[in-house]
Subunit: 390 residues, 2 copies
């Protein structure tokens, strides 16, 4: 095994984070988000269900602090050396009387941060209220600063190498939709379709293996199509059902999303009419995306089409996408909605996600795209209309 | 769609939680853990990547507070009615200037909790430091009490209906190991094996569909076998490699774990010797488990065998298992280790997990079991020795 990228790529990322830390006058930063740890160093393990953090300093390589049995994964997946691997003892795991963050705090103390400004991620999965509280009370001699999403914003603009990995993830996602198309039919159980979806996504494409996408496959069939994130069941698809599938591909932990709507047998005209409006809106969105426009501008292009059709959608129509572990592949930075004034730049990667969850039915169309010099590169590739399954 | 269990089962669970709340003198409880929400009400959606909580009261049905587009999932998967569904607006999602927990706090205020004691889960995934802080500062008129794992402990002893669902999950896990056995071979890429594993687990068994196990499939092959939670790669398995697979099955969101060790071609004697010690220890553990003994007693039985072989294992040898979403199927209550004095009772379900992560190699054996009236029922079923793949 080796890290997913060259050392120079991780050095570029570390430089970005340190620059952002300097702008926020931070002497150190404690990262709790496993996606941020992976992006910064390559660290890759299913270890985030127990407390672990990464400490970023200006004059020392990033330091991993986690559970003893996961320390080996640092050597397998990063360029970090022994001085960056600081495990805590196994007997601290999931006890009521002690918390691993106390041991982590004691270890961080060795870096002489007394009186220094230390940032932390305040609103991320796997870095709980108690974890933050125990860390901060253990290290009460430092000045804690909320630095949530500092690393996330550094991830927003991808390197060319990252875009190429995203392209592979998108190819996997496109193939996964093709496999879904081949297997979906009335009488097929939802779980059997998802079985084929997961198989195809994990095997990958063209010699590149797949990871587990951070968002699980979402099957919106029948009444469940009225809500955005239902879990699949073992109920068979029905004749004349409208089914939206939000699926993904993942490679080297980078995710691409791709949603499409399938009509089994014959469907009501409203499905096709709404799909026409949504795909026209999608075309308009893709024509608008280019460096220099804002997220809000992109949303305006969508809203204009929607207004013409008299349709309403309250939720955002996309977000930054990239490295992610369960449960989310979104980067928690840019959102495509009216009041987001983030300016698009080359090599941002976005999941343009148009879901219409109506009263008892729903449709979805999405694409994963990269912003180019002058426009947009649609990384996913699948017919952009309701797929009729006869 | 309908809830996974009868209404009476959810009423039993709610009674347990309210009793525990009374013992802790709590007027209300805010749950952040999606596994706890599912166990308490059946609520099942991949919605936990945005802020959501459940409010438990003594004189009102549990109240779900989450994102607008996920509200429909409450009706699909629970017995809760409209008065229990309190969504917040889509435009609050993932913004820097506002937080959904402020809206959730305003909604909770309608239940007149001023001056009351309200518990909250402090150390759970998906209920971040900022989420808790914003909720507590919005509702500063209540007395907040750390009530972490209150619901988890209520889950520890299963109903007979739950044990039967666990049995299905364990049958799926057993079949998944059988499928792995049929496909693993030198030259097969790890990702292609995992593809077959995920396919089999999702299709389920005997007409019962599978869910995504909360722990992703773990492939410990070659150098990666020295660490506990590596991610699979697209590298082929090698001749004479020792491979440990920690796999699972899930049904109605209940998880069963099952780990086994495969020897491709011929392996070093130390693999078989260590496996003999571990399986002897496993037998001793299973002979010890029964109502009335403590978790520590079970660990002692294991340690005695290990001592005889001169082996050392620092980590716990098992934990409570049941409902779980990514990333963990453990219930975060009982741990099988020396200093855990929890007394075993009938219908506890445990994942007895014996992993030995050595210097550059490793082996694993595990079983998912239910405590019975007088002993143990091993729910998983697969040959308990190193599986030779010739």
């Amino acid at each position: 095994m080796k890290p997913a990228f060259d050392l120079s790529e991780y050095q570029r990322r570390l430089d970005l984070v340190r620059k952002s830390m300097s702008e926020q006058d931070l002497d150190a930063l404690v990262i709790g988000d496993p996606a941020n740890m992976n992006w910064l160093t390559g660290f890759d393990a299913w270890s985030f269900y127990v407390p672990q953090v990464m400490l970023v300093l200006h004059d020392h390589a990033p330091v991993w602090l986690g559970r003893q049995m996961d320390a080996g994964a640092v050597y397998l997946t990063t360029y970090l050396s022994e001085e960056s691997v600081r495990p805590y003892s196994e007997d601290l795991v999931q006890r009521d009387d002690v918390h691993p963050m106390e041991a982590i705090g004691d270890e961080i103390r060795k870096f002489d941060l007394s009186g220094k400004r230390v940032g932390f991620e305040s609103d991320t999965y796997f870095f709980s209220f108690k974890a933050v509280e125990r860390l901060q009370s253990t290290l009460s001699e430092v000045h804690w600063q909320d630095a949530d999403r500092l690393v996330n914003w550094c991830r927003l603009i991808k390197s060319d190498a990252e875009v190429e990995v995203m392209r592979v993830a998108a190819q996997i996602a496109s193939n996964v939709q093709q496999v879904a198309r081949e297997h979906i039919a009335p009488g097929v159980r939802q779980c059997d379709l998802v079985a084929k979806i997961l198989e195809a996504g994990t095997s990958g494409i063209n010699g590149s293996g797949g990871d587990l996408p951070a968002l699980c496959p979402l099957v919106m069939a029948g009444e469940a199509a009225a809500t955005a994130h239902p879990m699949w069941t073992d109920i068979p698809f029905e004749k004349n059902q409208t089914v939206a599938l939000e699926l993904g591909g993942a490679h080297k932990r980078y995710n691409a999303g791709l949603a499409r709507t399938f009509q089994l047998g014959s469907g009501p005209q409203k499905v096709y009419d709404t799909a026409n409006a949504v795909t026209e809106g999608l075309e308009s969105v893709l024509e608008t995306i280019r460096p220099g426009v804002t997220a809000g501008d992109v949303h305006t292009a969508w809203q204009k089409v929607l207004n013409r059709y008299g349709l309403v959608k309250e939720s955002r129509i996309g977000y930054g996408i990239g490295v992610g572990y369960s449960p989310d592949w979104g980067e928690h930075t840019i959102s495509l909605r009216a009041n987001d004034l983030t300016v698009l730049e080359k090599n941002m990667t976005l999941h343009v996600m148009l879901g219409m969850w109506m009263d008892g039915w729903g449709i979805e169309f999405s694409e994963t795209v990269a912003v180019t010099d002058s426009g947009v590169d649609c990384l996913t590739d699948f017919p952009r209309s309701v797929i009729d399954v006869l």
